[in-house]
Structure formats: structure tokens, C-alpha cells
């Protein structure tokens, strides 16, 4: 099994990455990519059009070129004004056509928790602790005093019956494909940022707050969790494994994790 981790880790999806956006793998990646493309097309158009005017003027009105200096602006004021108006209209279209509705979708349309994978992630300097609720589907209570970096990194309170079957991993987020995922993000120490570039997911992880996010992976693959907020000296190395698996592989892996759980009141050191 451990070999599988290793190979799984090394088998990175090279075809997903290039000079441009990483290939998306979630249901809302296409929407974000569309806005990105649209804005960039606008940018290129603007740059080229203004650039043409700019260079034209520079050549036409260089000082050697004997022409009478004209006091007013461009002969047709409508040209610059329409260029600005174009931007305004485009901005409005982006805002009301894409960005505001999409952000609503992102923040308000949370999937049904019953039908999704629900995970808690507790970030710390410099690791992502992933907390699965286990069989009962309920997260156990955790308390800061109980934190033991080695055996109980998120401070689970084992007096809580819900906590007994909870599974925690260090930096290993595995989820089944084509099923919505809800992640509750929180941090033990400083602000981190949970980033999954292929999923177009990025969310600051703020201590003292639990922030839910959701997404739905559309294909399987091996990727990484990245930290996108300076969180200390080893920030650059704060990465985790992010695997989207089909349902059977995920269940098999989960079974192995559950086998490691302590049996009735067995002490763990």
C-alpha cells in the first residue's frame, strides 16, 4: 500500500500543466477560465488598439515632420470616448454577466452535505491536517489543549463518541470523483491559504474561524495542495497530496486508514 502512495505521488499529471492555466478539473473551472479568457481578450484588444494609435501618433507627429501644431485633441473626440465606453460596457458585462452571479453560486449554492464528501482541514505551520468524519459522518470535538503534534495533531477529544472513528492524515487529501466536496477550513496558528490550482479553489485559512468551501471534481488525478499565503519560514514547502480517486479506490484507502484506528479504548502513544 505504501508503494502506492509513493508511485501515486510521483505520477504527477504533467499534461495538466504548461505555460498557461493548469487544465481545470472541477465543475466551476470552466466558468473561472471563461472570465479569465474574456478579460485577457479585452486586455489584448485594448493594448493593441491603443498601441496602434500611440505609434501612429508618434510617427506622424515627430518634430522633424513639419506640420502645424493643433491645439485641440484628436479630430473625432468620439474615438477616445468610444474606446472608454467600450471598456465600461465590457466591465458591466463581466460584472453582471459573470462575476456577481458566479460568486453567488460559489458562496450560496452549497451542495447537500448528505450527498457530498465532507472534510475538515486544519492548517498549521507547515502542514495540512485533513480530518475525515469517519463512518458516523460527524466530526468529533477538538480542543486546543489536547493537541499533540505526533499522535493527535488536531486535538481530538476522544471522550466525544463522534471522535472515536475520525480519521486524520497529514497533508493527504483524498476525495472521490464526481461527488461534491465540502471542506471546512481552519488554522491552528497563522493565516494560510488553501489552494488547489487545478480545481480553481483558493481560500484563506484563518485562525479562529471555520470557513466552508465547496467544489466538485470532474476527473481523477494526482495533484498538490499549495499554500498561497506567507505563513513562516518553511512556507514554500507547505504542500500536501491531493488525489481525486474513483469511488472504489477511495473506499479501499479509507478502509486501510480505519484499520489503523485504535480498538476499544486502546491507548495510543
Amino acid at each position: 500500500m505504501e508503494n502506492e502512495y509513493l508511485n501515486g505521488y510521483h505520477r504527477m499529471n504533467t499534461s495538466d500543466y504548461g505555460y498557461w492555466l493548469p487544465k481545470g478539473a472541477s465543475t466551476f473551472a470552466p466558468e473561472i477560465d471563461t472570465t479569465l479568457y474574456l478579460v485577457h481578450i479585452l486586455m489584448v484588444i485594448m493594448f493593441v488598439v491603443w498601441g496602434i494609435f500611440f505609434i501612429m501618433f508618434l510617427v506622424q507627429f515627430r518634430s522633424g515632420n513639419e506640420k502645424k501644431v493643433v491645439h485641440s485633441g484628436y479630430p473625432k473626440v468620439i474615438v477616445p470616448i468610444s474606446m472608454i465606453a467600450f471598456v465600461v460596457i465590457f466591465d458591466m458585462y463581466m460584472l453582471f454577466g459573470h462575476d456577481i452571479p458566479f460568486w453567488n453560486h460559489l458562496k450560496k449554492d452549497f451542495p447537500d452535505a448528505e450527498k457530498s464528501t465532507v472534510v475538515r482541514i486544519v492548517a498549521q505551520q507547515f502542514a495540512w491536517n485533513v480530518h475525515y468524519p469517519g463512518q458516523d459522518g460527524k466530526f468529533g470535538r477538538s480542543r486546543p489543549e489536547l493537541v499533540d503534534e505526533k499522535i493527535n495533531p488536531i486535538g481530538l477529544d476522544f471522550d466525544d463518541p463522534y471522535a472515536k472513528d475520525d480519521i486524520t492524515t497529514v497533508g493527504q487529501l483524498r476525495i472521490p470523483v464526481e461527488k461534491p466536496v465540502i471542506i471546512h477550513l481552519t488554522s491552528k496558528d497563522v493565516i494560510h491559504s488553501f489552494s488547489l490550482p487545478v480545481m480553481r479553489v483558493k481560500q484563506d485559512v484563518i485562525p479562529g474561524m471555520s470557513i466552508p468551501i465547496w467544489f466538485e471534481p470532474t476527473r481523477t488525478g494526482n495533484w498538490q495542495i499549495a499554500c498561497a499565503q506567507l505563513c513562516g519560514n518553511s512556507h514554500y514547502n507547505m504542500k500536501g497530496i491531493f488525489k481525486v480517486q474513483n469511488q472504489e479506490d477511495f473506499a479501499a484507502w479509507m478502509a486501510i486508514q480505519e484499520a489503523e484506528l485504535p480498538q476499544d479504548d486502546e491507548e495510543v502513544w
Partner: protein, 619 residues
């Protein structure tokens, strides 16, 4: 005090604790340029690490280059200009600082950079560039020197306060440098200093103390600028006869005055968190290294971000507005025609100044903001892009129908237009919340921001320095050296900053010590790190031409004309350099708008009509 009395003052009163705005402006300028050089040097060290992670930094090369530069200045200055030779101290100082970095296990053991030192460099690069380099240069130096001259004032409204604000800034800068020598090193939580990281990291205390000095200096300066502009305009200098540069300084001063207090409070609160054990920004139950930290809790980490960005977004406009002012002056002067759409520019400026307070939270889209707040801030952000486009439109369409001279300052000003254009355009995807999910905290942000401040502000400052150097020193900088400097700088800057946008698109995070080596998605674009590093070297090497140009020009005996650019604004109505005390021999009176080039008077074409010359312009 008469001018003669003034010149009889002691050396200290005349040059060190001077109350003359011109001397203070020069002090600001030299200090800020030194800080820019230092900030650049820190960046080159970082870039080497990013391009060649874990390899030995060629620190000896840097030290030798800086010592040679210093020696060159000493040599070129000669015996006649001992004060000029003193400037070499800056170069020796930077060489010594780099040498110091290689001592001690906690910075560069064996010339190999450690991550915590990388973070220190990154933090200090940002802080020094923004707070100690660009703003003091834009406001302290250009504003101080040029603004009173352009409105015909004898000095700033509060000359002694002016001196105090320089020295407070200077102390802040010195404290900032001293922090490198303290145990634990300089601040390493990023220039944004997000709590709680900044609350628990080493080195932050000195940063906060130094920042408080810088803030106080800026506040005093801002009051002075506003009062000067409003109260000391000479007769006839109505609001719409103000050169556009003065307008930008005025709005900038308002931004500084009203935005900085929030960081002042933030800095005091963070300082108390660090030294008095309060927990303004620290929630309960923080666990670091497996142990619960002893804080009462109850704080809010996001509060710091609100306080910080409430300053830091207007601060971005503080970086760019004076630059736009300089560009406007240079472009109109070299296009030889009035600024087309001057009122539009002024109204845009007011609008941008007002709006800049309402957009700040677009830096915080991914902190988990709700829909209403996000909608508000992305809408305001798109609205604030309109005045920026108006600025560009006015500058571009002012070129139409002119007679463009391609002088060195004009080259810089013209290059500024597309460069700032890229910077502004790349701001659009960042201002919209959904694309920002992908681009937030990536190199795209770095690329965007640096296109605004490096080819944006700094190139404008170069334009300003080339343009006003004859005013300040009475001598014109060499045009050929200037052009070499120009092309090298432009090419280097684009080579450095354009690849950042590509890396950012691929999702490479900023502030990574290994430049993304550890991340799969960064692999295809890793090679760009080397390009950027060579780009930074090109920028650096071509600045040598700039430094040499200044030194060689100051050595020259021949003086340039009083008004070498045939400019119309009031600063050219006096001698070059202006008389030491009071600026103007006789108080000027203003009859015209600021940019009356090629106007017709009595049927004759007048190439330029200075503001203080009385003539009747025909339409």
C-alpha cells in the same frame, strides 16, 4: 532673512538641518534613491536564489561591483567636489551590508541562502521600495523641490516642519536598516505583515517602530503640501492654471493624510500585541509548535488586513499619481502643445482619490468575504479603472497634432505609457473576484504590481530626473548616456516582469523561497526564473550609466541654458538652480494656463508662452 544672510549661515544650517525646501527635496531625493538602490540589491539577491535555488550567491561579485562603483565616484568627483565623493559612501555601505549578510549561520551559511533570510529580504525589499524609496522620491523629493516652484511660492508653508519630516523619515529608514543587525534579523512576515504571523515572528518589532516614524513623517509632509498648495499660490495662479503635477501632489497629500492613520493604529496595535501581550489580532487557542500560546485571545486577524489595506490601497495611488503628474509635464513639454483634456484629468484625479478609499478590500477577496461585500468591492474596483484609462487616453491623444521631440525624458515618458498600460490592464482580472481566485497571491499579482511601480513610477521618476536636472543643477544630463540608460532599463524591466505574468497564470505562488521548485504546476515555467534574474541584472547594469551620467555631468564646467526645454511652467521663471532662499528674485504673476505651447499672439506663432509672461493669446 535675505538671500545673502541665508548664504552666510553655517554649513549645518544650510545643508544638513536646512529649512529650504530645495535642500530638503534633494536630501529626500538622495536618501530615497539610496534606498531604491538598496531595495534593488535585496531583490537581486532574492532573484539569484529563485533562479538557482540552493546555489551559492555570488556575493563577492556584488561586493566588488559596489566597491568599484564607489571608487569610481570618488575618482570622478575629484578634489574639487568633496561633497560628491561623499555619495560613494552609499555604495560602500551597500557593499558592507552584503558582506555582513554572509556572516552568521542564520542568513547565508556558506553563501547559500536560508528561507528565513529570503523572507527577510522579501519583506524588506517591499517595505524599503514602497515606504522608503518610491513614496519619499515621489512626494518628498519631487514634490518638495518642484511644487513650491511651480506655484511660485518662496518655500513650503511650514519650512521647519518640512525639515522635521525629512529627519523623522531618515530615522525611520535607519531603524529599518538596523533591524538587519538585530538578533533574529529583520522582519520576515512580508511587507503586508499579516497577523498573527507578524505577531509571533521575530524581527517585527523594529519594523513597526520604524514604520511609525515613516508614518509620522508622511503625515507632517502631507499637511505641509496641502497648505502650501492651497495657501501659497502666487497671484493669478487660479486652480485651473495649476500645472497638473501640482494637482497630483495635492491629491496624493490628501491620500497620505487620510489613509496613513489607519496603519498608524494598526501598527500601534500590533506593537502592543508583541510587547504588551494584548491580543488585538490574535484569536483564542493559537497553537504554535504544539504548544498553546499565552494570549487572552478574542482578537481578529482580519482586522489587521482591513487596517493595512485601508492604507495600502490609497498608498498604491500615492505611488502612481505623482508619476502621472511628472509624465504629464514631460509629455506636454515635448509635444509642444497644451494638454488635451486638462479638466478631464483633474476631475479624474479627484475621482480616483475619492474612490481609492472605497476599493481596498479587493485585496481580500479570498479571505472568505460574503457576496454583498464582494459585489461592492469588485464594482468599485472596475469603476476606479475608468479614471486611469482617462489618464492614458488624455496622454495618448495629447500626442496628436503635436510636434514631438524625442528627448531622453520624453523617451522615458513615452515608454511609460504602454508599460503603465500593461500594469493597469493586468489589474482588471485581479479586480474581479472569480478570476482572482486563480490569480490571487501568484506571480501574476507581482507582475501586475511591478508593472505599476517599476516601469510605472520609477520610469516616470527617471523622466522627471532627466527633465528637472537642469533646473536643480544648472546642467543638462548627457543625452547619449541617457538613451543607453533608457533602452537598457526598458528591456531589463520587461524581461524581469513579463515572465511573472506567465508564471502567475500557471499558478505559481509568490513568496516561495525555491521559486516553485517543489510544486508540480510550476515545473513548465521554472526556466523563466532565470530569465527574470538576467533581466534584473540588465536593469542593474544599465543603472551604472545613469549614475555615471550624473557624476560626469556634475563635473562639467559648462552650464546649460536657464530654460533648456523651452518650458512654460513657473519653476523655469527663476534661475537654474533657483536662488537659495525665496526661490524667485521678484514674485511672479501668472497670466496663463500651464501648457501654452505654440500659441498665436498678434498673428504670430509663439513657440512657448511662460505662465508669467503677459501676452494676449488669440484663439
Amino acid at each position: 532673512m535675505t538671500n545673502a544672510e541665508y548664504s552666510r549661515q553655517s554649513f549645518w544650517r544650510q545643508y544638513i538641518f536646512s529649512v529650504d525646501h530645495k535642500v530638503i527635496g534633494l536630501q529626500y531625493g538622495l536618501t530615497a534613491l539610496s534606498f531604491l538602490l538598496l531595495g534593488f540589491m535585496l531583490m537581486v539577491l532574492m532573484r539569484w536564489q529563485l533562479a538557482f535555488p540552493g546555489e551559492v550567491i555570488p556575493w563577492l561579485t556584488f561586493v566588488v561591483i559596489f566597491i568599484l562603483l564607489g571608487l569610481a565616484i570618488v575618482f570622478l568627483a575629484g578634489k574639487k567636489r568633496p561633497y560628491l565623493a561623499l555619495n560613494s559612501l552609499i555604495f560602500f555601505g551597500i557593499a558592507a551590508l552584503i558582506w555582513y549578510f554572509t556572516t552568521g549561520e542564520e542568513r547565508l551559511p556558506g553563501g547559500i541562502m536560508l528561507p528565513e533570510f529570503y523572507n527577510q529580504l522579501g519583506t524588506m525589499h517591499g517595505t524599503i521600495m514602497v515606504f522608503l524609496g518610491v513614496v519619499p522620491l515621489a512626494v518628498g523629493a519631487f514634490g518638495n523641490y518642484i511644487l513650491p516652484l511651480q506655484i511660485g511660492a518662496p518655500d513650503m508653508a511650514f519650512p521647519r516642519m518640512n525639515m522635521v519630516s525629512y529627519w523623522v523619515y531618515f530615522i525611520g529608514g535607519v531603524l529599518m536598516i538596523i533591524s538587519f543587525f538585530l538578533p533574529g534579523g529583520a522582519a520576515q512576515s512580508g511587507w503586508t505583515s499579516y497577523s498573527p504571523l507578524a505577531d509571533i515572528n521575530t524581527g517585527q518589532t523594529m519594523w513597526l517602530v520604524a514604520m511609525l516614524f515613516v508614518i509620522i513623517s508622511s503625515l507632517l509632509g502631507a499637511i505641509n503640501f496641502i497648505v502650501t498648495t492651497v495657501q501659497l499660490r502666487v497671484e493669478g495662479m487660479t486652480w485651473f492654471r495649476l500645472p497638473f503635477f501640482v494637482w497630483t501632489q495635492l491629491i496624493t497629500a490628501f491620500l497620505l493624510l487620510l489613509a496613513f492613520p489607519s496603519l498608524q493604529i494598526g501598527a500601534i496595535m500590533q506593537l502592543l500585541d508583541r510587547v504588551a501581550g494584548s491580543s488585538f489580532f490574535i484569536p483564542a487557542g493559537i497553537i504554535q509548535g504544539g504548544k498553546v500560546l499565552e494570549y487572552s485571545g478574542g482578537g481578529n486577524p482580519l482586522l489587521w488586513q482591513h487596517l493595512f489595506w485601508f492604507l495600502a490601497h490609497p498608498e498604491v495611488y500615492v505611488l502612481i499619481l505623482p508619476a502621472i503628474g511628472i509624465i504629464t509635464e514631460v509629455v506636454t513639454n515635448n509635444t509642444r502643445k497644451p494638454l488635451w483634456g486638462y479638466p478631464a484629468m483633474v476631475y479624474s484625479l479627484f475621482f480616483i482619490g475619492f474612490m481609492s478609499f472605497l476599493v481596498y478590500a479587493h485585496h481580500m477577496f479570498i479571505t472568505g468575504m460574503g457576496t454583498a461585500v464582494t459585489t461592492w468591492f469588485q464594482t468599485t474596483t472596475l469603476i476606479i479603472s475608468i479614471p486611469s484609462i482617462i489618464f492614458l487616453a488624455v496622454i495618448v491623444f495629447t500626442l496628436w497634432g503635436g510636434s514631438i521631440r524625442f528627448t531622453t525624458p520624453m523617451l522615458f515618458a513615452l515608454a511609460w505609457v504602454p508599460m503603465f498600460g500593461i500594469g493597469g490592464l493586468t489589474g482588471l482580472p485581479l479586480g474581479l473576484a472569480p478570476p482572482d481566485i486563480h490569480l490571487h497571491d501568484t506571480y501574476y499579482v507581482i507582475g501586475h504590481f511591478h508593472y505599476i511601480v517599476a516601469p510605472g513610477s520609477i520610469i516616470a521618476f527617471f523622466a522627471g530626473i532627466y527633465y528637472w536636472f537642469p533646473k536643480i543643477c544648472g546642467k543638462k544630463l548627457n543625452d547619449n548616456l541617457g538613451k543607453v540608460h533608457f533602452w537598457g532599463t526598458i528591456i531589463g524591466m520587461n524581461l524581469t516582469f513579463a515572465p511573472m505574468l506567465v508564471q502567475g497564470m500557471a499558478g505559481v505562488s509568490r513568496r516561495l523561497y525555491d521559486g516553485g521548485l517543489g510544486y508540480d504546476h510550476a515545473q513548465p515555467v521554472l526556466f523563466l526564473n532565470e530569465w527574470m534574474t538576467w533581466g534584473a541584472w540588465i536593469i542593474g547594469i544599465f543603472q551604472i550609466f545613469f549614475i555615471l551620467n550624473i557624476v560626469l555631468t556634475l563635473r562639467k564646467k559648462s552650464r546649460s541654458e536657464e530654460n533648456p526645454w523651452d518650458a512654460t511652467t513657473l519653476e523655469w521663471a527663476t534661475t537654474s538652480p533657483p536662488i537659495a532662499h525665496g526661490n524667485f528674485i521678484t514674485e511672479p504673476f501668472v497670466y496663463h494656463g500651464p501648457y501654452e505651447y505654440n500659441v498665436s499672439v498678434n498673428g504670430q506663432n509663439v513657440p512657448y508662452l511662460p505662465q508669467h509672461k503677459k501676452m494676449d493669446i488669440e484663439d
